[in-house]
């Protein structure tokens, strides 16, 4: 199963995973066959009211009701209906091409789309926040056990974060005694 990559209007990366059910439904049709007359039009109107482009709403509804689409066409319909209004530069990708999720919120793309890469400056902030969270959780655990609290060597950690040359090196900056999760 492939996914649809989108650059959101705020620059974030959005990855949309189609449901397997859609491929069967848009191939065979009859998705709302037990519904009363006029339900197809009600569905189109509701989607338009929810902000979906009228043409995209119609094509999506027709596909579910009448079927006949190929796999490639299903991706197209879902791209238009579920992704188009949220951003630009839509690409069909294999999810294994994506970077690891550790720095998910630092994922970025070029101005004209293309592959996903990790924005190192945003990743440094994320890494420090993750370490702070791990310290807080560790000290919460120690308080319960009435143990001495863990004290982070901030100078060493901050230096490591600041000097990391790529996301792999940055991810390795981690206090030895803390659980990584």
């Amino acid at each position: 199963m492939r996914a649809i990559l989108t650059t959101a209007w705020n620059g974030d990366v959005r990855v949309t995973y189609p449901a397997a059910e859609m491929f069967d439904a848009m191939s065979s049709g009859g998705y709302w066959r037990d519904r009363p007359r006029g339900y197809l039009w009600a569905q189109i109107e509701r989607q338009i009211e929810a902000g979906i482009d009228p043409d995209h709403a119609k094509r999506f509804a027709y596909a579910l009701e009448f079927g006949g689409l190929t796999t490639a066409e299903v991706y197209e319909v879902l791209r238009d209906r579920d992704c188009a209004r949220h951003g630009k530069d839509h690409d069909l990708i294999n999810p294994i091409e994506l970077p690891g999720r550790w720095f998910r919120d630092a994922w970025s793309r070029g101005h004209n789309g293309g592959p996903v890469w990790v924005n190192l400056e945003r990743a440094r902030v994320i890494q420090r926040a993750k370490i702070d969270t791990a310290v807080a959780e560790e000290n919460s655990r120690r308080r319960g056990l009435r143990k001495r609290l863990y004290k982070l060597d901030e100078l060493t950690i901050d230096a490591g974060i600041r000097n990391a040359r790529d996301d792999e090196e940055l991810r390795r900056v981690w206090p030895e005694q803390l659980q990584r999760h």
Binding site: M1, A8, Y17, P95, R101
Partner: protein, 337 residues
């Protein structure tokens, strides 16, 4: 016609001869008379001129047994005390073997076509087909136990009547072309529908609920079918589940009523519905699991994105502020579609 005691008494010549002639005439006329012979014998014949019935004395010489009835010039035989001769007079005890029907023949004969007015089973046999302006609220008067079949070649409303036209679930039926109804006569022109099958093969009555009945969720006379149970208000209209461990949220293979799931950031995903809700006031629910941390994690509606009728953004967080990827999640939505 005459009767005689069939016993020749001692007498003079003329009287004896008259007695012999009377006995012979009685034999020749089967002891015909409006009342039974005064002297009876086992297996003796008697033609009852009062009711035109030929009778025979039983073996015990105790009772007269009807043998045949003379109607005009036609003899109609009896069996077990009842007149035979027409199917209308048959009953189960008078028929010792099954009736053999000619191939392709029905009991009543033809399928009677009714193009206007109401069918009358009393004159049309037991199978009718309705078309044009025919109606079916009355069906004629037949004896109780009669079974009639109605084929609908026209869409009409059959009106329930608690006495004369008892329909399944006590509700009116709007026929469609091709429907078939089987009715049981209760006598006096009253009928109960014992089966009503739609042209598409579904039954009326204790059959499957319509979408409207499922949404109303009040009927106790119909059953939900797999293709319509999702219309019940308490049934989840959409759900999806998956793991983040594969890089995720993974492709929603475990999903229902969902067109896609969008990964929009750490611990945030948007569920897009394949069928739009009638209002954005539906009920999201779900759970998630975080296996590697001390604190729990809960799904909630993402704070900066209001739910719409076509999508809902879900955030996973332990403290309400820091979104975190769960290892496993399952979320669903209940509402009206």
């Amino acid at each position: 016609m005459s009767q005689n005691d069939m016993s020749l008494a001692n007498a003079n010549g003329a009287t004896f001869r008259a007695d012999v002639n009377s006995a012979l005439q009685a034999l020749a006329s089967n002891n015909g008379g409006s009342s039974a012979p005064s002297t009876t014998y086992a297996n003796q014949w008697w033609f009852d001129t009062g009711s035109d019935i030929l009778k025979i004395r039983d073996e015990a010489n105790a009772n007269w047994v009807n043998v045949a009835s003379l109607v005009g010039t036609t003899w109609i035989p009896y069996s077990n005390g009842s007149v035979l001769g027409t199917l209308a007079n048959l009953n189960a005890s008078s028929v010792s073997t099954s009736l053999a029907m000619a191939a392709g023949k029905s009991i009543a004969g033809a399928l009677t076509s009714v193009t206007s007015g109401t069918p009358d089973f009393a004159t049309m046999g037991n199978a009718v087909t309705l078309s044009s302006t025919a109606t079916a609220n009355t069906l004629g008067t037949t004896q109780a136990g009669f079974i009639g079949i109605i084929h609908y070649g026209v869409a009409i409303t059959i009106t329930h009547n608690g006495t004369s036209r008892i329909l399944p679930t006590a509700a009116n039926i709007t026929s469609t072309v091709g429907d078939v109804e089987i009715v049981l006569s209760l006598g006096s022109g009253n009928y109960r529908t014992v089966a009503y099958m739609r042209a598409d093969g579904t039954a009326v009555g204790a059959g499957s609920a319509s979408t409207a009945q499922m949404k109303a969720a009040s009927s106790t006379a119909v059953f939900s079918s797999p293709g319509r149970q999702h219309s019940h208000p308490a049934h989840p209209k959409a759900f999806t589940a998956g793991r983040y461990s594969a890089g995720a949220p993974e492709s929603p293979g475990t999903a229902y009523g969902v067109s896609s799931v969008a990964d929009t950031g750490t611990g945030i995903m948007t569920v897009n519905f394949s069928t739009a809700f009638s209002t954005a006031k539906y009920i999201p629910f779900g759970m998630c699991q975080r296996t590697s941390a001390n604190s729990g994690l809960w799904p909630s509606i993402e704070q900066s994105t209001d739910p719409t009728t076509t999508a809902c953004a879900i955030a996973f967080a332990s403290d309400g502020a820091t979104n975190t990827d769960p290892d496993y999640y399952g979320v669903g939505f209940i509402g009206d579609q």
